[in-house]
Every structure is written in structure tokens, then in C-alpha cells.
């Protein structure tokens, strides 16, 4: 068993798993570049990847400035979603009445398009950071709460009986059995939520803002600064990927047992 684990640290499968997607990306970019160059497509219509790269270099301080604003909105909004999502999940799981009263509301709230609420937020809390934080929080809150609720409920009766026979109180069962059981579920929700938070920030800025990458896009588009639009989109997607990877890293650090077990199972197949 131990040998299997060690062997699995450097298998060829992992190295190859990078090559295929990297090849596809490179091929797509090359096709795009060639298509624009050979087809003589005007820059305002579709800029070539090389033009977008040049724009990234040229406007980096502008992108940095707006990227910083968007990052702030995402970080604060996501933290609000995380804290409220976890607290609500804990509350709903510990009280049947609360669950019956609130869960249907929570589910039906998801049928309301965020983009329809965002303009109202401007009326209520203004054009500043707060309205964007609320949009980000609203959009990333749901997957975190729902996954954590599922996780807190994923305990089995035998485990609870075992804890009781060792003299565990209800609180101890919650902290030492339910919370650790819920962790992998919670991280699934976090990973979905953190990706959505980037979209939330852009929606918030589109509706009305004075800064941020979403704002930069809405400002550049009417001026046909298409490469700048693409440059902003590129930065947004890098941010999204970065945040997702960060969540994955935190998960790996916090749940080493979960990954060790998964690897061992794979290696045994």
C-alpha cells in the first residue's frame, strides 16, 4: 500500500495529462492568429492574439488599476458569501423548523436573475463598492450553502452511534464528525462559488460603476477598442483560474487525508 502511494507520485499519466490541453490551446491561438493575419480582418472587429498581447503590455497599468478594483469586489463579496453560506448551512442543518422555513426560499431565490436585481442595488446602496460586493455575494453564496448543507447531512447513523458510545455530546458530534465530513462538500461549493464570483463582479460593474475590469469593457466597447476588451477579458479569466486554483490549493492543504485516499484508490485500480 505504501509503495503504491510512493509510486503514484511520478506516473507518466500526470505528465501526459498536461500535454493534450496545452496542445489544443496553442493550436487554437495559432489558428486564430493565422485567420486574422491571412484574412486581413480589421483590428476593431477581431484583434489577433499578438495584438491582444501587445495591448496587455501597453495598458498594463490601466488593467492593473481596474483589476485591483475588481479583485477587491470579488474578495470581499466572496468572503461575505462564505461566512453567510456556512452559517446558514449550520443553522438549517441543526434545526428542522428553520430548514423547512428557509430552504424553499433559498431555492426559489435562485430563479430570480441577478442581473435584474443589480440595478435595484444601485438605487439602494449606490454606485460604490458595496453594490458589487452584494452582487458577488448573492451569486456565490448559493453553491457554498447548498453543498455545505449536503455535506453536514452526509454523516451515517453508525458513525453517530459510535460517537455517542464514546460519550460525545451533540456539540462534539457536530464539530468532530459533521464538520469534517462536510469539508469536501464545502470545498466543491467554494470552487463553484469562487468561479461565479468573477461573473458576479462583472455583472455588478456593467450595471453601473466607476471602475473595474467590467467597467473597462463597457467603456472600451463603444470606442471600438476591441483589443482592450479582449485584454480585460483575458485578465478576468486569469483571475478566475487563479482563484479556482487557490481554492484547490487550500483544499489540498486542509484535507490531506482526502487526497491521499483518492490517490491510493486510483493507484489500486
Amino acid at each position: 500500500m505504501k509503495n503504491n502511494l510512493q509510486q503514484f507520485k511520478f506516473p507518466e499519466v500526470r505528465a501526459y495529462s498536461w500535454i493534450a490541453p496545452a496542445f489544443i490551446i496553442v493550436a487554437l491561438i495559432a489558428t486564430w492568429e493565422l485567420w486574422v493575419q491571412l484574412g486581413d480582418i480589421p483590428k476593431w472587429q477581431l484583434p489577433a492574439p499578438s495584438a491582444i498581447a501587445a495591448e496587455l503590455v501597453k495598458s498594463w497599468s490601466l488593467l492593473l488599476h481596474h483589476g485591483y478594483i475588481t479583485t477587491q469586489e470579488i474578495v470581499f463579496g466572496f468572503l461575505v458569501a462564505l461566512v453567510s453560506g456556512l452559517l446558514l448551512a449550520a443553522a438549517l442543518v441543526s434545526s428542522k423548523i428553520l430548514e423547512r422555513a428557509i430552504l424553499p426560499l433559498l431555492v426559489s431565490s435562485q430563479t430570480i436573475p441577478i442581473i435584474a436585481i443589480a440595478p435595484l442595488l444601485l438605487i439602494w446602496v449606490g454606485y460604490g463598492l458595496a453594490s458589487k460586493i452584494i452582487v458577488v455575494a448573492l451569486i456565490s453564496f448559493y453553491p457554498i450553502a447548498v453543498n455545505t448543507i449536503d455535506g453536514l447531512k452526509a454523516i451515517n447513523a453508525d458513525m453517530v452511534a459510535m460517537m455517542k458510545s464514546l460519550g460525545a455530546s451533540r456539540w462534539q458530534i457536530f464539530t468532530k464528525l459533521q464538520i469534517p465530513t462536510a469539508m469536501p462538500f464545502m470545498f466543491s461549493g467554494i470552487k463553484v462559488g469562487i468561479s461565479l464570483s468573477v461573473i458576479g463582479a462583472v455583472i455588478g460593474e456593467w450595471v453601473g460603476a466607476s471602475g473595474g475590469l467590467g467597467y473597462l469593457i463597457t467603456q472600451s466597447q463603444p470606442l471600438f477598442l476591441t483589443s482592450r476588451v479582449f485584454a480585460a477579458i483575458f485578465v478576468l479569466s486569469v483571475m478566475g483560474i487563479g482563484l479556482f486554483a487557490l481554492a484547490g490549493l487550500v483544499e489540498r492543504l486542509m484535507l490531506p487525508w482526502y487526497y491521499a485516499e483518492k490517490r491510493a484508490k486510483k493507484a489500486n485500480q
Binding site: M1, K2, D158, M159, A161, M162, M163, K164, S165, L166, G167, A168, S169, Q172, K176, L177, P180, M183, L255, W257, Y258, A260, E261, A264, K265
Partner: protein, 254 residues
Amino acid sequence: MIEINHLSKSFSTEDGKRQVLDNINFRVETGEFVSVIGPSGCGKSTLLHIIAGIDEADSGEVKINDDENFSRLGNIGYVQQKDLLLPWRTVLDNVILGLELKEVSKTEARQKAREYMETFGLKGFENQYPFVLSGGMRQRAQFLRSVLLHQEVILLDEPFGALDALTRHQMQEWLFNLWQKLGNTLVLVTHDTDEALLLSDRIYVMSKRPAKIIKELKVDLPRPRSHATITDPKFSKLKAELLAQLHEKQSATI
């Protein structure tokens, strides 16, 4: 010492009440090894749940050391067939779980647990996660979790049922040796007649549902017993008696 008087239990199901335990009486002396044997699904596990304090009986009493009000949750060991180690804790942190719940400091608990690792065949695995362990090791770790809590009475619910035959034999021998060393009071629920005869001082036979105790059998085979004992004519005689009881009560209810 465990004393059970007139214990009954039923569950409500969709088609009304279903009686599981019907007027169960039995007694286990301190330091005694008693097996409870019966067909699958007869309510043996329900009985252990009640003794452990996890479930309540409808009527009747459970006395531990002559005390009806003995606080059973946390003070009676309960080892199940299923693997109930927490996957996010290392082996060492799994076995100290009970001590930790009693708010013993982790350092102290770990130190205490280390002294037992050898006896429980877990040495060298302290810092591994449970998925690395074999089935037998997992059962021993669960057993150690109870022993560390000084749980004098330990209930074993088919602890070796999921193991292969060879491992099961080794575990039976290991359990027997450990019991002689520690002197705990053990109640083993099983449907394996050989296991019950090899290990116990006495055997209670339970009927199909609603379960009653239909027979009490004293196992007067000399100790130490080994797997060679199985060929002893006296063993065969007891086994025949046991099997007759098990089959008789089955045909009676069919």
C-alpha cells in the same frame, strides 16, 4: 457486570408496530466472555444498542454493576463490524478519540495510546490514515479506542464478520489473548457458532424476530482453546446442540 431484566423493544413501521425484542433476560458477570448468537436480523444489534445506551428500551431494565442508573453512554465500549474510524484522522488520533471527547489533553492521550500500539498490532502505523490499514487492523484500532477509555464492558457486534477466514481466525486468537490480559467483560454478538464456542464462557441463543433468549449454553471446554479444539468431540457435541437450537427455532417461526 451486566444484568438485563424483561427487556422489550418494538419499532413502529408503516404496517404498524414490529416487535424486535421480547422479554430478554440475561446476565454477564464481571470479566466474563459471553456470546449472543442468533439468525441475521433477529435484533442482536438492537439489543447491543440498548445496552450501550444509544437506544432506549420500551420496557425492562439494564443494570451495570447492580446500578440501574449507570451512565452507559461513554462508559460501555461498542465495536461494530463496520469500519467506523474517522478517515480524516490518523490511526493514533483515531484511537484517542474517546479520550479527546473526555477532554484529556492530546499530548497525554497520544502518549498513552503509543504504549498500546504494539499489543494492538498497530506499531508503525500511528501516523497513517485508516485507509492504509487492513481489515483486521481497523478492527483492532476500534477495539483500542474502547480500551483506552477504560471501558470495562465492551460490546462486539460481529467484529470479524467482514474479514476473510484466515484473518478471522487470527483475530479470534488475538482477542482471546487480549481478553485474558485485560480481563474486560465482553459480549460478542455473532452468527458464527465456531467463533462463539472457541471464545466464550457462555452462549445465549436468540430466536428469530421477535427475539427471545431460547437457550443458555455453558461452554465447558478447557482453555486455552485453539483451532485444533474444533475437532474435539466435546466441541462437536456443543456445536450440534447449538445448531439444533438455531434450526429448531427457525422452523418454529416459519
